[in-house]
């Protein structure tokens, strides 16, 4: 892999940037691999990268039906945090956050992870109780977490209206200083480049149309670019996980919903922190380009079309204007949707399946982007060793029959 650095950038600048090498190859699929990862988003590419990097498995293909990073990796609001309530979730997301902190260096690709802090607002007495509970749990789990008073909130984010006469006055907030945002495309490209350098084949425009089984074992996939055999198949297909699982004859406890987000026109920097509010339902940050990036709520109905209803956008915009009255006159510039895969307890499913040779990683719902490195890391471990890592042990498919749910949904006040 051609290393990136400021010095190299200078050198190439002097020669007109004619000699940069391609970031990853565009190979034809081989007939057989040790591992095929279905889904070339951040999670799939990360899985391939850690398989190669941590477990020495390099005969790997990542197959992607469109262009890598074109699914939810490229359709989110790029928030990264680990201040989850339950121990299981907290440890998994914290592993991910720790990986984020070293990722630019590790991948030699600046993923622009910006630890500008994530604030979750509390608007009712119950919100405040939940905030206290979560902040305490985070700290005891070794995760940075603070409680802010309205005045401290105003100092950090002068744009927020903390007026006590607001419809849902801001009573406080939890704050995770190490949280922040990152460049969503960079994580795709960074992992792709690093995985490719370790020998992973990234195969785009290659849609999986069937799952090959032999005597109950999964032995490969049928694709629009031919049959690809594999000793192990990892399905990391987010909103389309159930579709792929169905090809293998497996039914997943997953519902797929549209989730929308939008950005404003770019404005001069005015918001330096990520702000989330569950009660009025909106989350917002300002990108390095100056756009206000806003996440809307999930659409109520199920579907695979990457567009949602206008009413959801209306609700999110009203919430933003309510919280940030001076943003009323800025303008929404671009709106998009992704398909999120939601498990009944709003936590991911990562691990083995009843089918030998088939591994799944799905159910990240609205929390997938932040978990990209950790998700890939644990799935790689699971595939390599044919058993879950301690971190994803609680996130098996069996929990829905055993009842060992990790209910981040029910844990009120925890935005996903």
């Amino acid at each position: 892999m051609q290393r990136f650095s400021a010095l190299r950038l200078l050198g190439h600048g002097l020669t007109g940037h004619k000699h940069w090498r391609q970031s990853w190859r565009h190979p034809e699929p081989k007939r057989e691999y040790d591992v095929v990862i279905v889904g070339g988003g951040g999670h799939g590419l990360a899985t391939a990268y850690y398989l190669a990097r941590e477990h020495g498995m390099t005969n790997i293909a990542v197959v992607e039906k469109g262009w890598i990073g074109g699914g939810n990796t490229g359709r989110n609001t790029t928030i990264v945090r680990s201040n989850y309530l339950w121990d299981e979730a907290a440890h998994l997301y914290e592993k991910s956050l720790k990986l984020w902190e070293g990722l630019s260096h590790e991948l030699n690709f600046n993923v622009m992870f910006s630890q500008r802090g994530v604030m979750n607002l509390a608007h009712s007495l119950q919100d405040v109780r939940d905030a206290e509970r979560r902040a305490n749990a985070n700290v005891l789990n070794g995760i940075d977490s603070e409680i802010l008073t309205p005045e401290q909130i105003r100092q950090k984010v002068p744009l927020i209206s903390i007026s006590p006469t607001a419809r849902y006055p801001v009573l406080g907030a939890t704050f995770q200083p190490r949280g922040g945002v990152a460049r969503h495309d960079a994580i795709t490209w960074g992992y792709a480049r690093a995985a490719d350098a370790l020998g992973v084949d990234i195969i785009q425009n290659c849609e999986v149309t069937g799952v090959l089984k032999e005597s109950g074992h999964v032995v490969g996939v049928e694709t629009t670019r031919g049959v690809i055999r594999a000793r192990k198949v990892g399905v990391v297909a987010a909103g389309h996980s159930s579709v792929i699982a169905q090809m293998a004859g497996l039914r997943l406890p997953i519902e797929s919903h549209p989730l929308q987000a939008f950005v404003s026109e770019p404005c001069k920097p005015a918001l330096d922190t990520v702000v989330m509010s569950n009660a009025v339902h909106a989350y917002i940050s300002q990108s390095d380009k100056g756009e206000f990036v806003v996440g809307a709520g999930i659409d109520g109905y199920n579907g695979y079309s990457q567009s949602g209803g206008y009413n959801v956008i209306e609700g999110a915009v009203a919430a933003i204007v309510e919280l940030f009255p001076t943003l009323s006159r800025i303008r929404l510039m671009r709106q998009w949707g992704g398909i999120v895969d939601v498990a009944p307890d709003a936590c991911p499913i990562i691990g083995l399946t009843p089918l030998k040779g088939l591994y799944i990683n799905c159910g990240w719902g609205t929390g997938g982007f932040k978990s990209t490195p950790g998700s890939g890391w644990v799935l790689a471990h699971t595939i390599a060793h044919n058993r879950p890592h301690e971190l994803n042990l609680p996130f098996t498919l069996e929990r829905f029959s055993s009842g060992a749910l990790i209910d981040e949904h029910g844990a009120a006040g925890v935005a996903h």
Binding site: F4, R21, R134, G190, E265, A270, I330, A411
Partner: protein
């Protein structure tokens, strides 16, 4: 179609401008004058302002290039203070008296920008340079990021809240016509004549679209007259709604469209009560997209110099706004439309050279015109470079053929036409996949979408005749689909003119230098070359890597050119390369307009009970519970919250107290299968509940976890009244309807929310009966005839009421439901009657303390979606005889574990110490982090009645640990020893409520 010398008369008319009314405005601090009918852009051009801003990345000086929504350069901050608006396109704002605008990126001034030095460093800042650097040393990254952020953004957000009002409105129609140009007007007229309900939207304040900039003859009339005539006719039709100044920006499923009407321009102070912008939410049966086309630029060195404009815009500024743009102009065009600009330039007195890469044709209808007007046409020629420092001064032209001749022409204006892109945004939002048409050199609609038609330029039909005819045809088709019979309005024969076909070419391989594709983001040809070389092959990757199309015009001008360049570099066809996804909105929409009236007090309307004003006049502090505002406590003069709550608690246990419980959800349940339904939805059995009796019920989710609770009363045969938690009312009703409608449609049972119909007053305390007796008629209140957990109908203070003997405080209590409209009198009467027993009103805080003393849970506070009834020690309420929602889950291995987190009481060693709610519990206070948490404090209060602090908690295996010592461990490191106790702290036998 215009012939070169067909019209000259309109130039003087200026089509839309009223030059007698002058308007003063300021741009970058300098004063200018324009006239009514000007846009800011036309007024600046009329004043000779050529440089209007600087580019985002390299800070290059830029001028106005277009006259519409595609403008990437002329981006201004309009107005100041609270009414300022950032990032307005000068081409889209009509001039008004006193307008003040500032370029969003101008540096110190447009003449001098320190950051323009960045151009020197530009060669070291190729696309994606930030991915390749700023990584070492790691700790400097925040510093680098601050540097990056320094250059972020265009305009500035206002400093104070928005003073303006916005609206949104729903509308329905048979036929929605998007675009008020010749095609759209023709379609609307056809549809309107048949009597259909028509809405036609136009983003500009004036009707006519591209026709406004073209002095043409339509059906024997001047274009201006034709437009006026059609608009007059449409205005006369009562089923036709004309929406000028209204940009249709989104298309959703089932022909749902969103449009934003600008009623007052940004930056202006608007009259009281008026709305600035209004979003139309339109549901149409048939939709006709007559959205026109956007002209493409061409690529050559320095193609971003001020003074280089799109040819169509040049025509518009000359014809519509009567501006003399140039004395020496060069037109660079690969299609015939550039010649229209050449004609207009000649008429406005300019000398013109036309550079046309196409071979000379014998049928060229401009040949004679060029001879007459001494216009030089250079065929098979290309511009390879524009020269100039502050603006274009000359162009270098290369002619192919013998010797590859090269010429230099001096000029003060370069008009460019690279062909036209139909505006297919709405088609694409609806799921359409545009198809590249090699002949016409543009993307056109492909597969038809049901209920949708694209016509005129939006359909790739660029001639006036085609626009007019397609309008009529689309109107007739839409009418037919809507069930109207249509007649062709009149003959619309227009002489169609043979055009020379376009030569779709994108760039000369040998042109070097900086060739800009996306002017706002400074995306250059070299950037796309680099992206492709680095393996970014998908057009979406190229777009994201080079920021092509990420500006405020969202690639309207440059995207297709960029895709064509990428296709060339990838050695693919344009269809193979494809387009990036079109995303709404078509042009940016104000947040305020989308929010409409849902701001401030109407963001989510506060729900108040019938007694709200009484609470206010009695000094209540309020708490938000769901959408409701409930009294929290009633401090008397000089009382702290704790003192008030202590007083309220003591009075409730020793005398009598009343609380407004109106916010609890109430669902009226009727039907022969009501009991069956209740049996399935609640954990306990309901078969034996007799009329006149009440029972507490618990409902679970499918996962077996507690979801809601409340008392349900049998009012009569097959008639029940369910109460829910305040916050859960809507959720529970939705839950019940879901089960009934999707799983058990065979059950005959009906639900009605009656929460608002009944006000609820709960009176409790040892003197509750004595108080109540004074106001209650017709009911024997004695325990013998009206026992605990029963219901009677009676009259209280002269008003018919429902009376329930239930209690959430553990005291003797009566809860009454009374028609909300008559409720205040009843409340007053009870208040009056209780005076001799020292009655007090209490709020939610006291309610919480009283129920915690009794160990009664609050769903959502003591439970969190992970708690079963068994965890709460409520095994008694879980029926073993029948099935109910959640039952199967309770049998799962993990749900049956003995060491689940269970509800217990906690007592601190120091009775005065009140634990913080939300505190985490540990067995070993000294364990290093991460520590093992065994539970948390769910509720915690000072209990004045018991004389010590009490707390409820969920503790792992807590039911087996009574008496054991554990610790609260706070995030600040403090630990507090606590003993696990029973969760019932007061009157464990429950005798007080039965008296």
């Amino acid at each position: 179609m215009s012939t070169p010398n067909a019209t000259t008369s309109h130039l003087q008319e200026g089509l839309t401008v009223n030059s007698s009314r002058r308007l003063n405005f300021k741009f970058n601090g300098r004063s200018y004058q324009g006239v009514v009918g000007d846009t800011l852009a036309s007024a600046l051009l009329a004043n000779g302002v050529i440089v209007v801003g600087r580019s985002f990345k390299y800070r290059r000086r830029r001028g106005i290039v277009s006259d519409g929504a595609e403008e990437p350069n002329a981006i201004v901050q309009l107005g100041s203070g609270a009414t300022t608006v950032p990032n307005i396109r000068a081409t889209q704002v009509m001039l008004y008296e006193g307008l003040e605008a500032t370029s969003v990126n101008k540096g110190y001034s447009l003449d001098f920008d320190l950051r323009a030095i960045i151009r020197l460093a530009g060669r070291f800042m190729p696309p994606g340079f930030y991915y390749k650097t700023f990584m070492s040393p790691k700790k400097l990254w925040p510093f680098y990021e601050r540097l990056i952020r320094l250059s972020a953004g265009l305009g500035e957000i206002p400093k104070s809240p928005d003073p303006d009002l916005y609206d949104s409105i729903n509308a329905h129609c048979d036929i929605l016509v998007v675009g008020g140009g010749i095609a759209g007007l023709s379609a609307a007229l056809t549809a309107g004549l048949a009597g259909a309900r028509v809405i036609i939207t136009e983003q500009q304040p004036l009707w006519g679209g591209a026709l406004l900039g073209r002095p043409e003859t339509v059906v024997g009339l001047s274009s201006k007259k034709w437009i006026e005539q059609v608009i007059d006719r449409l205005k006369g039709m009562k089923e036709v709604k004309l929406l000028p100044n209204c940009c249709l920006f989104g298309a959703y499923d089932h022909h749902f469209y969103t449009a934003c009407e600008t009623r007052y321009p940004p930056g202006i102070t608007i009259p009281e009560g008026e709305v600035r912008e209004r979003v139309w939410k339109i549901r149409a049966r048939q939709v006709i997209h007559a959205t026109g086309a956007i002209e493409r630029p061409l690529l050559y060195k320095n193609n971003d110099l001020p003074g280089i404009m799109l040819a169509g815009a040049v025509s518009a500024y000359i014809n519509r706004w009567d501006i003399t743009l140039s004395r020496h102009a060069v037109v660079f065009t690969n299609n015939d439309s550039g010649y229209r600009a050449a004609c207009d330039l000649v008429r406005s007195g300019a000398s013109v050279v036309v550079v046309d890469p196409r071979a000379a044709s014998e049928t060229n209808r401009y040949a004679k015109w060029s001879d007459q007007n001494r216009v030089e046409i250079l065929n098979q020629s290309w511009i390879t470079e524009a020269r100039g420092t502050l603006r274009v001064r000359s162009v270098i032209v290369k002619r192919s053929g013998e010797g590859n001749q090269q010429f230099e022409f001096t000029c003060d204006l370069l008009a460019v036409s690279g062909g036209w892109n139909p505006v297919l945004h709405l088609y694409a939002y609806s799921g359409g996949k545009p198809l590249f048409d090699e002949q016409r050199g543009c993307f056109v609609p492909n597969a038809k979408i049901e209920g949708q038609q694209q016509i005129g330029a939006a359909n790739g039909s660029f001639s006036l005749a085609a626009c007019l005819n397609e309008g009529v045809e689309a109107g007739i088709h839409a009418l037919f689909e809507c069930g109207y019979s249509a007649s062709v309005p009149e003959t619309t024969e227009i002489e169609s003119v043979e055009e020379q076909p376009i030569l779709p070419f994108w760039r000369l391989a040998e042109s070097g230098g900086e060739q800009f594709i996306d002017l706002q983001n400074d995306t250059k040809v070299a950037d796309i070359e680099l992206a492709v070389a680095e393996g970014y092959r998908s057009i979406e990757h190229i777009k994201r890597y080079t920021l092509l199309g990420f500006g405020t015009d969202q690639g309207k001008m440059g995207n297709i050119v960029g895709m064509a360049v990428a296709a060339g570099l990838l050695k693919q066809t344009i269809p193979e390369t494809g387009t990036t996804t079109f995303r709404p909105p078509y042009t940016p929409v104000t947040f305020g307009a989308i929010a409409g009236r849902h701001v401030g007090p109407l963001f989510d309307t506060v729900r108040k009970t019938a007694f709200h004003s009484w609470h206010c006049s009695h000094g209540a502090e309020f708490e938000d519970v769901g959408q409701w505002r409930r009294p929290w406590y009633y401090p008397r003069e000089g009382e702290t919250m704790q003192q008030a709550v202590n007083r309220e608690c003591l009075t409730a246990r020793n005398q009598v107290a009343m609380i407004d419980a109106s916010t609890l959800g109430k669902i009226d349940i009727q039907g022969p299968d009501a009991v069956t339904f209740l049996d399935r939805i609640y954990t306990n059995g309901w078969g034996n509940l007799k009329p006149g009796r009440c029972r507490y019920g618990l409902m679970l989710g499918e996962d077996g976890m507690v979801m809601d609770d409340g008392v349900t009363t049998c009012l009569g045969p097959n008639h029940y009244l369910m109460t829910t938690t305040t916050g859960g009312a809507a959720r529970v009703l939705g839950w019940m309807e879901r089960w009934l409608q999707t799983e058990w449609p065979e059950l005959k049972v009906y639900f009605t929310s009656v929460t608002d119909h009944w006000a609820t007053i709960s009176v409790s305390g040892p003197f509750a009966r004595k108080t109540f007796e004074q106001v209650c008629e017709q009911v024997d209140l004695s325990s013998a005839s009206f026992p605990f957990l029963s219901f009677r109908e009676g009259v209280v203070a002269g008003v018919p009421t429902r009376i329930f003997r239930i209690s959430f405080s553990g005291e003797l209590g009566f809860e009454i439901n009374v028609n909300a409209n008559a409720a205040q009198g009843v409340w007053d009467a009870i208040w009056e009657a209780g005076q001799e027993y020292g009655i007090t009103a209490y709020g939610t805080e006291t309610m919480h303390v009283l129920r915690a003393e009794k160990g009664f849970i609050i769903v959502g506070q003591d439970t969190d979606g992970s708690v079963t009834p068994i965890d709460l020690g409520m095994n008694w309420i879980v029926s073993k005889k029948k099935d109910f929602i959640g039952r199967r889950s309770l049998a799962r291995a993990d749900t049956k574990r003995e060491d689940r987190k269970q509800l217990v009481g906690l007592l601190t060693s120091d009775p005065a110490r009140v634990l913080p709610e939300g505190a985490q519990l540990v067995a070993n206070p000294d364990e290093p982090l991460p520590a093992t948490m065994i539970g948390h404090v769910t509720s915690s209060y000072w209990s004045e009645n018991i004389g010590r602090s009490i707390a409820l908690a969920l503790v792992r295996g807590g039911h087996q640990k009574e008496g054991q010592r554990i610790y609260v461990r706070n995030r600040d490191g403090e630990t507090i020893a606590v003993n696990i106790s029973s969760s019932v702290f007061f009157d464990p036998e429950g005798e007080r409520q039965n008296v």
